[in-house]
Symmetry: C2
């Protein structure tokens, strides 16, 4: 009985993982578009004010179970990865 | 024009952030349930084989733009946070 329950919960978790993979990819693509627009305007890709604003909004939306600091830490990793993605695109653009 | 485009893209990004906050919370709640079932069975909360399997599935589902290693790194942070959540619940349960 408990094993069935565990199996059921793991299936749910796998489903959420799949959705997270898709959503993070979607976010990466939008970040790439933003990087392109910024590059065309000669703007700096890293914008600490915008990042702070996003972290504040995440804090506001958080209803648990994770601590806000934990959630923000996860998002900071996503921000960092997005910035690296924009930098890669920029390096490639310079090589063209 | 470019500013409007940037504004539009940022709105899209904020929308994805909101969905991520919800989905990560949903994942946290499922992980808590799994922690409870495991505790009731005397099972160890950390299961490296299961974690490896999830990381392999994430690699399989990844269609970019992020490198698989980057995506797995983000997920490892989520796994770590989920485990801490289960440990907190366990500590609280011991105090009851």
């Amino acid at each position: 009985m408990a094993n069935e329950q565990l199996e059921q919960l793991r299936k749910q978790l796998d489903g959420v993982n799949d959705q997270l993979v898709e959503l993070i990819a979607q976010r990466g693509k939008i970040a790439q578009e933003i990087g392109k627009v910024k590059a065309s305007q000669g703007l700096n890709r890293f914008d600490p004010v915008r990042e702070r604003k996003m972290l504040d909004e995440i804090a506001e939306k958080n209803e648990g179970p994770f601590e806000t600091s934990t959630l923000q830490h996860i998002f900071k990793e996503i921000f960092k990865a997005s910035l690296e993605l924009q930098e890669d695109d920029h390096s490639k653009a310079l090589l063209v």
